[in-house]
Symmetry: C2
Subunit: 359 residues, 2 copies
């Protein structure tokens, strides 16, 4: 079958061998697979990502020197059931899944970051039957594939210490920031201030329900806290407390993941704010802890999602609480995948490109 | 009256003028006043502290170029009531207070960091009657003066997202770390692992009830998590969750406040840990956000305490739940205060030195 393969720091489109199914596995046809920012990063820095996972005491057991087929934001159609499967979902059923699988040795593989199992930038994949979720009738395969990136937002919001009426600022409206906006709105939180330099992304933020949209090139997003009664300074916060005026905790979502963003948020955030760090800055970064102490900030680093958050996100999309298609800006076949990676390096051209390997 | 005055980067012992009492104020005799680590820092870096407070939108309205009498960890005895006072507490009553006062212009002054009101390194102070708390009968004046530093620990513990059985690691057993240990034990939390390079400070940690005492020169404190069932790696944490084994959230208290400590804790802390940052690192610092993200750490920066935490700490000390005297290692008069500052720069010589200006 054909696949877009990560080989060294490039993506090449070639034929690959298919493997036999092991116990509990199903073979599926990939219907749609989103290109994730971490894939863009991994093309060039897979070594560093693997090393980092090891230092955190977990991570991917993959060899960056070998071929990998990326793609972990997918929907698929069941083709064939392997040995020892339940067959509750028949061939032809459309499915999504948390992109993880058990390998024959009993270890965990991340689909899309595995030397063993190809990810969604291939015509067919091998998935674990027990982990499959059926795509609800009527939901498009592209929208279903967006369950994974939107689950990242659901998890970030679940980790936020939101109070009724907490004003939220989402910094960076790439797929992660947009997923956070969608999850906040799906759960009835807000007001939501959204900031991004890109007009394309600001438009998507608006579609997903952000209340205030800011171009940081023209104004600081932090000028908007006051409109929601959030004290901008320690003095104002103390005064509000002395006057018995309860202020819901302000929440900032860092969804950029670049050096210096954290420090700029420590400088700009209101006192007492929680900064939920969902953007992955892969470089070492510089912060001023004494400023964070003076303002009593909380930095909550978040990663991934739980199977429950993933399943709930699928239903939020299927039942219209999240407009998943608001982030999809282009569709490509496997042959165009290398070019799509290059295009995503420019933040204004696209938000989410979906690969359709059957094209 | 005599006072130990901060003038430029030195402490000098001289006579200063006494001021008349304004409405609602009382004049007190200073009985005991602890030397705080922030005073040691402020002798040399008061400009930077003032600037930092301003950048946080609060801070001290003081001019570092003018004389300041430091000292904010005090107990005192009422000498004289000013105009418009209630006189509920008679002359001769021993008192403590949150070191803050309202100036005649209606603004807030921090006693011990004010050009207007001398702090506790002086024979007499001017305090606000409405803020005074009576020292319970039988509690020594020195122990009462320790209310302030122990309140810092109470606040840090109040900001920790402790779960029943949460294992706690206190890194650095200076006065802040020791106050954290005392507050954890006073509230029935633990187990508490305490780490410090200094034998003097490790001994104090033991007296205050730490369960495991570690010399980081001989072993990493992080080797002790396993004994309390805390998974050391992401893999182990996932496995524990899959086996339905609930693990109480591990909490790390950063009580050192020096560059690189935060990054070493990000590297060493178990996945899912909260790091409560109570040590004040005044320099910019380097962290690896991607490692904190992989481990889903939470960095909670804390500062000061509330009036309620202060009052509760006084009662914890008076009722024997906190052995405040465990941290007091020396007593000096005003003339010896400059030498005491120099001695505290060596962490092994002392933990807390108390100034007794009446000596």
């Amino acid at each position: 079958m054909r696949a877009a393969i990560r080989r060294g720091p490039t993506i090449v489109c070639e034929e690959i061998e298919e493997q036999p199914l092991s116990t509990g596995q199903v073979r599926v046809k990939t219907l749609a697979c989103g290109i994730c920012g971490s894939d863009l990063h991994a093309v060039h820095h897979l070594d560093r990502m693997v090393e980092l996972g090891k230092r955190a005491g977990g991570g991917m057991g993959l060899d960056p020197a070998k071929d990998v087929v990326f793609g972990h934001e997918f929907s698929a159609e069941i083709l064939e059931h392997g040995p020892g499967t339940q067959k509750t979902l028949k061939a032809g059923t459309r499915v999504v899944t948390v992109p993880a699988a058990i390998n024959p040795a009993g270890g965990m593989e991340l689909i899309g970051y595995s030397n063993l199992y190809p990810g969604g930038y291939s015509e067919r994949m091998i998935l674990t039957e027990a982990m499959l979720l059926e795509v609800p009738n009527g939901l498009s395969s592209e929208a279903a594939a967006m369950t994974e990136p939107f689950a990242v937002g659901a998890h970030a919001v679940a980790k936020a210490h939101l109070e009724p009426g907490s004003a939220c600022l989402v910094v960076g409206c790439g797929p992660v920031g947009l997923a956070v906006i969608a999850a906040l709105k799906a759960r009835g939180h807000g007001p939501v201030i959204a900031a991004d330099f890109s007009p394309t992304r600001r438009r998507a933020a608006e579609v997903l329900g952000a209340d205030v949209i800011v171009d940081p090139a023209t104004e600081s997003p932090h000028t908007h806290w006051g409109a929601y009664g959030v004290p901008a300074t320690l003095m104002e916060a103390q005064l509000a407390r002395m006057m018995g005026r309860a202020v819901a905790r302000p929440i900032v979502f860092e969804c950029v993941g670049a050096p210096n963003v954290l420090q700029s948020l420590i400088e700009g955030a209101p006192p007492g704010a929680q900064i939920v760090v969902a953007g992955v800055c892969m470089e070492a970064d510089r912060i001023e802890p004494s400023l964070a102490i003076n303002k009593e900030l909380e930095l909550t680093f978040v990663f991934g999602y739980s199977p429950e958050e993933f399943a709930r996100t699928l239903h939020d999309i299927a039942e219209g609480r999240i407009d998943a298609m608001a982030i999809v800006t282009s569709r490509v076949g496997l042959a165009e995948t290398p070019a799509a990676f290059a295009r995503l390096a420019r933040p204004d051209a696209d938000v989410k490109i979906v690969v359709e390997p059957w094209r």
